[in-house]
Symmetry: C2
Subunit: 207 residues, 2 copies
């Protein structure tokens, strides 16, 4: 009975088609532009049909964010080099992270949105799991660093993951919207990032 399989495949393809349209629509203008009607028009489906494939608009945005996280996790894994200390690898992860925020600003912005939004308003989705794939890479590297003695171990690797990720999150707003502080305070964005690294790297070393 190949019909069931074929139907499932079609369903997946349609879902993907909707996401592609959504990506184009939602990433088009600045900010939160783009309506469900726009997306429907783009995929040439009726609005009602969208709701057969996604519960609501947030669901679609969440799926786009997930896609971004997957890209990020892949890139992070890509820069790991066995042979370096955990601390050195951590530094490389940081660089890659900044690069991601620059290269995929809209995905990053979306991720940030889900990370910062109050959990309950993201109806249905368990947004606390969104970053998991990327955070696992970070966690592994920190563990390596704690083993090889390049990273302090007076806090658990979980604790350090949360701390570093939270700090990074805060810092990276400034990449998305530099007009906020960067231009306001007449400072140089790369220098701020470098400063952050210096402080954190010094801070997570031992003793």
């Amino acid at each position: 009975m190949g019909i069931a399989e074929r139907k499932e495949k079609e369903k997946r393809q349609r879902r993907k088609a909707i996401l592609n349209a959504a990506e184009k629509i939602f990433f088009a203008g600045n900010g939160d532009t783009g309506t469900m009607d726009d997306v429907a028009a783009k995929v040439q489906l009726s609005k009602g049909t969208l709701y057969l494939y996604f519960r609501n608009k947030t669901d679609i945005l969440y799926a786009l964010a997930e896609k971004g996280v997957d890209i990020l996790a892949d890139k992070l894994k890509g820069v790991l080099i066995a042979g370096l200390t955990g601390k050195e690898q951590l530094s490389d992860l940081g660089d890659e992270f900044v690069r991601f925020a620059e290269d995929y600003p809209r995905h990053f912005e979306l991720i940030l949105g889900f990370e910062l939004a109050e959990p309950h308003i993201k109806d249905g989705e368990d947004s606390s799991q969104l970053m998991e794939p990327a955070l696992r890479v970070l966690r592994d590297v920190i563990l390596i660093g704690q083993k090889d003695g390049s990273i302090r171990h007076d806090f658990s690797e979980q604790e350090i993951v949360i701390i570093l990720w939270s700090q990074m999150l805060g810092l990276l707003q400034n990449i998305l919207w530099p007009e906020r502080y960067i231009s306001q305070y007449h400072v140089d964005l790369p220098r701020v990032i470098k400063g952050h690294y210096r402080i954190v790297m010094k801070g997570i070393a031992i003793s």
Copy 2:
């Protein structure tokens, strides 16, 4: 001509009355509940009247956030003790900050929202200035620390302000919505905050 003065005073009072009602309404439920109609009902004015005193809903929320920043700046000033090193005072500021986030969660949440929102969607308001009163306190303390040799001076005080404030911002989400990572990763919130402090304090020291 005392009429003009009186009218102005009335206008200010009405504005304040609206803000009081708005505070009650918007800080009532969880999240982004509360409509302009609700606020109008609360102050016993028509909705149209609200728009004589505020350009839009965002304007009202911004005014509430400003109030929060003023409270915060006062509290921060309150903990400064001459005689301590800049680094020691910085640590006290941090504690006070966390306390503020705990004691005024809704104000803090609102501030966070404006800090993280894309500038352009906060139509009209120059949200990049919102935190200025609080950041000035931070800046002064860092300058003191750089003078007394307790804080590194290979980055300008402006740069360090942005770095520390951004990091703090990221971290403090976890206070507002602990269910996000704290419970997820089975770590203890106070320990995460302590870890952050340890790392940052070690990181901003000299050499």
